[in-house]
């Protein structure tokens, strides 16, 4: 990295260099490399699901019901319905592919919102200190004391049962209630991480050097402190993402997530359990497998990111 001279390319070029180092460190470790590749694969599915799925309109398109999977790994062929069809005759393979999009969108967007808002909040609290930090810190502690799933269930339950005028902002909110729940759950967690790292960084002498030339609070927080906090935020973000995926799948399974007939993995597992499982085991097994693989993959990836960051630190 010594020969890397981004010159005046901006204050954050160093952060980018550090991230590049992290990615290459990631690839050197076989497990995290496998995890990262798997996540990348699911990301592709999420982005190009409608193009990749054989039946992009799988929700409405009905085939023969209860067709067993035609996937044959030995003969290397997918067949008509690789994962079979469910009891309503929908192609499970296409629905699993399409489901990637919804889980990534909700978990990813939720993570993004929590990391952005949480970091800003934590940086501010940490740098400001005093009673502001004290009060916000108590609020965060209170939020963290509530069990995550319980809070999620209560919130979703309440908001779902309210009746809103179609097209109003409340209705939009109700539609994105999971996003709201994720943010509410994770903003305090991210804020706490950002705050504690900020407390450490703000005593460094370069921050004092900025203070004695009269820099604004905004400048000090974002230009002087943020770059040094960024690595731990990246780790936290990847961790949050893996929890978010799990949470979204769990809510779907409990019936509090996406509503039928959307191709949500958790929902698909839920719809096909109990007596239906005897009829079409594949309609439950494949989405469940997808959830398991994605959760494990994201975990391996975030593990690798943490390792790389700690090594670099």
């Amino acid at each position: 990295m010594a020969e890397d001279k981004p010159g005046q390319a901006g204050d954050f070029s160093r952060v980018i260099v550090a991230l590049q180092g992290m990615i290459s460190a990631q690839l050197r470790h076989p497990q995290s490399a496998a995890g990262t590749l798997a996540v990348a694969f699911f990301l592709l599915l999420a982005l190009f699901g409608p193009q990749l799925a054989p039946y992009p309109k799988a929700n409405d398109q009905r085939h023969d019901p209860r067709v067993p999977p035609t996937l044959d790994i030995g003969a290397f062929q997918l067949g008509e319905h690789p994962f079979g069809t469910d009891r309503l005759g929908r192609d499970v393979y296409s629905r699993v592919i399409l489901g990637a999009g919804s889980i990534f969108r909700i978990a990813g967007l939720g993570t993004l919102i929590s990391v952005l808002a949480g970091s800003a909040l934590g940086l501010f609290m940490g740098y400001q200190g005093g009673w502001v930090d004290e009060v916000l810190g108590r609020v965060i502690d209170a939020l963290l004391a509530i069990p995550a799933l319980l809070l999620a269930l209560v919130l979703v339950g309440i908001i779902r049962n309210l009746q809103f005028e179609a097209g109003s902002w409340q209705a939009a909110l109700a539609d994105n209630v999971i996003l709201l729940v994720i943010s509410l759950l994770y903003i305090p967690i991210v804020a706490r991480v950002a705050r504690s790292t900020t407390l450490d960084i703000k005593t460094r002498e370069f921050v004092e050097a900025a203070e004695i030339r009269g820099e604004s609070k905004f400048y000090i927080i974002f230009r002087e402190i943020l770059p040094s906090v960024a690595p731990s935020l990246v780790v936290e973000a990847s961790l949050r993402f893996s929890y978010a995926i799990f949470l979204v799948a769990s809510l779907g399974f409990l019936g509090f997530g996406a509503r039928p007939p959307s191709p949500d993995w958790g929902l698909m597992v839920n719809e096909n359990r109990g007596g239906f499982y005897q009829l079409t085991p594949w309609a439950l097994e494949f989405p469940a497998l997808a959830i398991a693989i994605l959760v494990i993959a994201v975990n391996l990836m975030s593990d690798g990111i943490r390792r790389a960051v700690q090594k670099g630190a």
């Binding site: 160093r14 004695i212 030339r213």
Partner: protein
């Protein structure tokens, strides 16, 4: 102690490597050492010289990524240590070979009381237990002069001061009567007063017991005062080895010569001549040069030096030196240093060469001026000849009290704990273009005082005026004008630059922010500033992790000068730097002051460094000033009894120099619970009686604005102290 020829430790051809990124890097090459019982051999070297690696290898403590290469010999009392199993080594560690680390606080187990901890060490060594163990422990505690040993045994490590902790680790090492003691920078990080006491202790104990000691330090003064022989290390190789007197009187190796002449002696001043310094930085161990490892920085390097590695030659008088040219250099008329080292400033940028720095002749004018007007005056009635137009900064009765949170009991009893009075009624006048040195032990409040002036800490009381303008309390409330006039150079170069900003960005910012330069102007000025701190223009695009400690500090200095300030506060700016780099930074500070006419408030625990750079010196003790005067006054009687102890404790890098040290107890009273009367009375060796405990001593004026706060009149102090002037003896 009988002088024996039997050797205790024999080390030959020792090469130690570390594995870094799957490559084995030889960190120490071809190391030799011989130690007799009762002998103290010093290993001196800067960071990266391999001195600590050697200590670890001798103890066989090397971590998993380090190994001793085969072919070397390591024999302790006739036994081959390299062949010993781990179990055998553990038995040796328990009794015969002991190690005293630098950081005593980290070496002691924080969760076990001192008594049981030491008893455990004794049990492991001699299988002594119970009452006998307790008695032995008390005896050793007494030997290491721990005050009140019974109480110390009942305390936890964190309840002891740094000096006491170090005494405990020394006691733990000595309790088994070891034959070999390896001490790795045991006094680094302690105050001079404590350091002096511990050195005295080590010297006395070793003479009594006949233990062989390897003493590792970067501090030449400590080595000169303590050791019998000295080994000088550089980049993992022995440069020179000699009896201590010979080494300091007639160094044979250019590196040794450079090291010795780059440390300021007490009383040496920038007015006389700039310090010598060694150009450049040590080589990276991964890219060692083929020839002499010192060639790149050596002023006498010739072609052969760069091609052929010099052997360690044994000289007649029990010395050894690794240099091709030592014979020529030890002639009465040695060859002159190479002209390569006298290139124009930009070329040698970053190398802080031995080139003399232009400075005006010692100005007679200012001396007379000072005679009639003390630059610092205390209290109203003593202001005397002070004239307003000379004053840059004036502080009146500055105070800082840190509140202490109430404990539960105090909350219930509705009493408030007394605050920590870190700075308590300090008056200062700083003159434009001058340097005020501020000295004192840690805990004296000197750093807090500096932070009050710069505004990083809010003062609890008092007034601060800059050029007659009232200065607001906190930096956030200060005007741009005031901000640009006071800047600061911090202690730790590691933390003073933002790792994510390039050198250019770091220097540009104050130019744009405080001097309102356009980006283009700022770019040009940043390069000019870099040149002024002797860094080449390509440094502009480097990041802090690509710079050495000295280079970082240069950048920090350039950044402080960017706003063209009238006052720069330097808080221990060289204490984290290696000796050979320190002097270059001190020279730079002196030269920049000549150019810009900025005043410095220079804080250091190192009296020689302060004495070198400062025009006036203020001595601080427990939040108050106790002595103020011209720099050279500090080094001669009359002193304040506290300053006297500080000066006598300086480890002077000259083995012939010996002082009757004035030893102070380790215990600095708490600033929460200040002693009555004279604050120094609990430790003062010259205390005259009850009056010291009862009444605050008055300021007593001496010559040339010299002021001392003590109940003893100055004439009497002079006569008491003139017998024991450490510097007169040194000259």
């Amino acid at each position: 102690m009988a002088i024996t020829t039997r050797s205790l430790l024999d080390v030959e051809r020792l090469t130690i490597s570390y594995e870094v990124n799957k490559r084995w890097i030889p960190a120490v090459r071809d190391f030799h050492l011989r130690l007799r019982p009762g002998q103290i051999v010093g290993l001196v070297g800067e960071s990266g010289s391999g001195k600590s690696t050697i200590a670890l290898a001798l103890m066989r403590y090397l971590s998993g990524n380090g190994r001793v290469e085969s072919g070397g010999l390591l024999r302790f009392a006739g036994e081959d240590l390299l062949r010993k199993s781990d179990a055998e080594m553990r038995r040796l560690w328990a009794k015969r070979v002991k190690f005293v680390p630098q950081n005593a606080g980290a070496a002691l187990n924080p969760s076990i009381k001192i008594g049981p901890q030491v008893a455990e060490a004794l049990k492991a060594a001699d299988a002594i237990d119970g009452d006998a163990a307790y008695d032995t422990m008390m005896r050793v505690f007494h030997d290491v002069r721990l005050a009140d040993p019974e109480r110390v045994a009942e305390r936890y490590p964190h309840e002891l001061s740094g000096g006491m902790q170090q005494r405990v680790t020394i006691a733990m090492a000595l309790i088994s009567n070891p034959e070999l003691l390896i001490m790795d920078e045991p006094t680094t990080g302690l105050d001079v007063t404590t350091e002096a006491a511990i050195l005295d202790l080590v010297r006395g104990l070793i003479a009594e017991r006949g233990t062989g000691v390897i003493y590792i330090s970067h501090n030449l003064g400590v080595i000169a005062q303590l050791c019998e022989r000295v080994v000088v290390l550089y980049a993992g190789e022995i440069m020179e080895e000699a009896p201590v007197l010979d080494l300091f009187q007639a160094p044979r190796h250019p590196y040794t010569l450079g090291l010795i002449s780059s440390v300021p002696k007490p009383g040496q001043s920038k007015r006389a001549a700039p310090l010598q310094s060694i150009a450049g930085n040590p080589p990276a161990l991964t890219r060692l040069p083929g020839g002499c490892v010192f060639a790149e920085r050596c002023a006498w390097a010739i072609d052969i030096c760069r091609d052929k590695r010099p052997p360690l030659e044994q000289l007649a008088d029990k010395r050894a030196v690794r240099c091709h040219r030592w014979e020529e250099l030890s002639q009465p008329h040695p060859p002159t240093p190479s002209p390569r080292h006298q290139m124009p400033a930009i070329e040698i940028a970053g190398r802080g060469t031995t080139k003399p720095i232009r400075r005006p002749a010692p100005d007679a004018k200012s001396a007379t001026e000072q005679a009639k007007s003390p630059s610092i005056a205390m209290g109203g009635d003593l202001e005397g000849g002070w004239q307003a137009d000379e004053t840059l900064l004036r502080a009146d009765n500055l105070n800082k009290a840190f509140p202490v949170p109430r404990s539960l009991r105090e909350l219930l009893a509705r009493t408030a704990p007394s605050p920590i009075r870190a700075v308590d009624g300090v008056d200062l006048h700083l003159r434009a273009g001058r340097t005020l040195g501020l000295v004192g032990e840690s805990g004296s409040g000197k750093t807090t005082l500096a932070r009050l002036i710069i505004g990083l800490e809010e003062r609890s009381g008092g007034k601060l005026e800059l050029l007659g303008m009232d200065v607001r309390n906190h930096v956030r409330d200060r005007s741009q004008d005031v901000l640009s006039k006071i800047q600061m150079v911090f202690q730790n170069p590691q933390n003073s630059l933002n790792p994510y900003l390039s050198v250019r960005q770091a220097i540009r910012r104050p130019l744009i922010k405080l001097r309102r330069f356009s980006p283009a102007e700022a770019d040009a000025e940043a390069l000019a500033l870099l040149a002024r701190v002797n860094l080449r223009p390509e440094y502009a695009d480097r990041y802090p992790d690509e710079l050495s400690g000295g280079e970082k500090q240069r950048v920090a200095i350039a950044r402080a000068f960017a706003s063209d300030p009238d006052l720069i506060i330097c808080d221990e700016p060289v204490s984290a730097l290696d000796v050979s780099v320190q002097s270059a930074v001190l020279n730079l500070l002196a030269a920049l002051q000549d150019e810009h006419g900025s005043a410095y408030l220079f804080i250091s625990h190192n009296l020689s460094v302060v004495g070198y750079l400062a025009d006036t010196i203020a001595v601080m003790y427990l939040g108050q000033l106790v002595e103020v005067g011209e720099a050279r006054e500090l080094f001669q009687a009359p002193y304040h009894p506290y300053s006297e102890a500080l000066v006598s404790a300086i480890p002077v890098a000259d083995p012939r120099h010996s002082t009757a040290r004035i030893l102070l107890s380790d215990d600095l009273p708490s600033a929460q619970n200040l002693p009555s009367g004279c604050r120094f009375h609990t430790r003062c060796p010259r205390k005259i009686g009850e009056i010291c405990e009862r009444e605050e001593p008055p300021w007593r004026p001496g010559d040339r604005g010299h002021l001392i706060r003590c109940h003893i009149p100055l004439e009497e102090l002079t006569s008491l102290q003139s017998g024991s002037n450490p510097l007169e003896k040194a000259d």
